[in-house]
């Protein structure tokens, strides 16, 4: 089996338009959540979200590109450009033929759907732009990344709701570890902050109207975000041979299915995924210093997640740190695990643990060190990233300091 390292990272999200801005915001405990700016926002019951602001897509993409790129594709390409630039890789010949891209995404081109449903239903028009389908399809982001960077190996999109990014990165990890691909580009992207997207989430009655406060007894729901995170997963010897800067090593993962409820999380499903990742990585639970929680800020997730962590880690649960950065960048749904992996890399590489902001009062059912409100300096050897999706699909990744 090959060892797999991360040699590039890129993002755009409510905390920043690149990785340095995002990490700086996480260190400061900055909140990217604010009043939503969109058409018909007055008709929404939930009027907050973590939107990507000051984003001038026409300064980044030309007219022909914009005709084909939904916002979720734009985000993915921006993140991929940053990650690939950092890695220093260029793809040609055999490297190009074997390397691919696996992206996580849940909603596809929601902005495109929303706008065109308006056109035909609300405005009564009988003609839509010819690129609606190539724009909204879930694999558009992965495909455009493959085209821009000449990636001709295995490429596709993974949809498992809030775990999409982690499932996608698990696929990429497996492909590099098995020797199938020398390099895989992977992560996730999402842009659901449009009228229809928020309206749909409102219906479930799990959204907060004021803030995302994971693990706090005062928590009252999740807050949606948007954006993308993209990483370069590279076979370790390949990376070392070319003198690449290694950000972290990916050492294991596990995926489980609750097989029980379409929305309620399961303690067993979550704990099996966490312990499975430790087993796959071949590490003792005591080596884990930080967990980036799924931590949505809903009543059900946070207590279930804390009890699952307590089950897996036993006494060590009191010595590890677990924070939810969703309190800052919101829940990016299919893109969330990718942006959250940045917090794991920051913990391993910079020795800074991103906080859970908005934390007000302890909840006895979430009695772990959730790094409340302020970032903390700490030396961490191994970090986990949890994702537990609607549909009961769980994926946990394990990273080690390079």
């Amino acid at each position: 089996m090959k060892r797999v390292v991360i040699t590039g990272a890129g993002t755009i999200n409510a905390l920043g338009h690149d990785v340095p801005q995002t990490l700086a915001a996480m260190k400061e405990g900055h909140c990217g959540i604010g009043p939503l700016e969109m058409r018909d926002v007055d008709r929404l019951a939930v009027q907050i979200g973590a939107q990507v602001r000051d984003f001038q897509s026409d300064a980044i993409f030309n007219r022909q590109q914009l005709a084909l790129y939904d916002r979720f594709t734009q985000f993915a390409l921006i993140a991929a450009r940053e990650a690939l630039a950092q890695s220093g890789l260029e793809f040609s010949g055999a490297l190009s033929a074997k390397s691919g891209v696996v992206m996580g995404n849940s909603g596809g081109g929601m902005q495109t759907l929303d706008e065109n449903y308006r056109t035909v239903y609300e405005d009564g028009k009988n003609r839509v732009h010819p690129f609606v389908v190539p724009k909204l399809m879930n694999n558009a982001a992965a495909s455009h990344i493959s085209m821009e960077f000449n990636l001709k190996g295995p490429s596709f999109t993974v949809a498992s709701a809030c775990a999409s990014s982690n499932h996608a990165m698990a696929q990429a990890f497996q492909m590099v570890r098995s020797g199938m691909a020398p390099v895989m580009i992977s992560g996730g992207t999402e842009s659901m902050l449009c009228f229809g997207g928020v309206k749909a989430w409102e219906g479930l009655r799990v959204m907060s109207k004021d803030a995302c406060r994971p693990f706090s007894s005062t928590r009252n729901g999740m807050v949606q975000g948007e954006g993308a995170g993209v990483f370069v997963f590279e076979e370790m010897q390949h990376a070392k041979a070319r003198g690449a800067d290694i950000l972290a090593e990916v050492i294991g993962f596990a995926m489980t299915s609750d097989a029980s409820d379409i929305v309620m999380p399961s303690r067993q499903g979550a704990s099996r995924a966490i312990s499975g990742a430790l087993e796959d990585a071949g590490i003792n639970r005591e080596e884990v210093g930080y967990i980036n929680a799924h931590g949505t800020g809903t009543a059900a997730n946070d207590k279930t997640e804390c009890s699952a962590v307590a089950d897996v880690f036993g006494p060590h649960a009191d010595y590890l740190m677990m924070s939810s950065t969703k309190s800052m960048h919101g829940h990016l749904i299919g893109g969330t695990g990718a942006v959250e992996l940045l917090a794991c890399i920051m913990a391993l590489r910079d020795g800074v643990i991103a906080p859970t902001i908005g934390y007000e009062e302890p909840d006895p059912e979430c009695a772990l060190d959730v790094v409340p409100n302020e970032a903390r300096d700490a030396s961490v050897e191994v970090a986990l990233s949890n994702a537990f999706a609607f549909g009961g699909l769980n994926a946990v990744l394990a990273l080690r300091r390079a």
Binding site: Q64, A67, L68, R127, H129, P130, F131, P134
Partner: protein, 87 residues
Amino acid sequence: MSVKDRVIAIVAEQAVLEPSDVTLENTLEDLGIDSLGLVESIFAIEEEFDISIPFNANEPEKSDFDISSVATIIAGIEKLVDSAPAA
């Protein structure tokens, strides 16, 4: 603006050219407009003239709309505009 000038303006925008660089003899291929560019041009023309162009990308040769040059496209649109009901 005449139908001819309006069509040339749309085709030129699609090809990222000045209208003065588009001649009636040009084919879409000459102008660097690919299959996606073609359907986008047809959409833009339909919007501009509020007409419906009978064009199926699977069998363009069978469509009752000749796209072999800028001139034939203009002729086809003039015919459709003339036969459209008055607003």
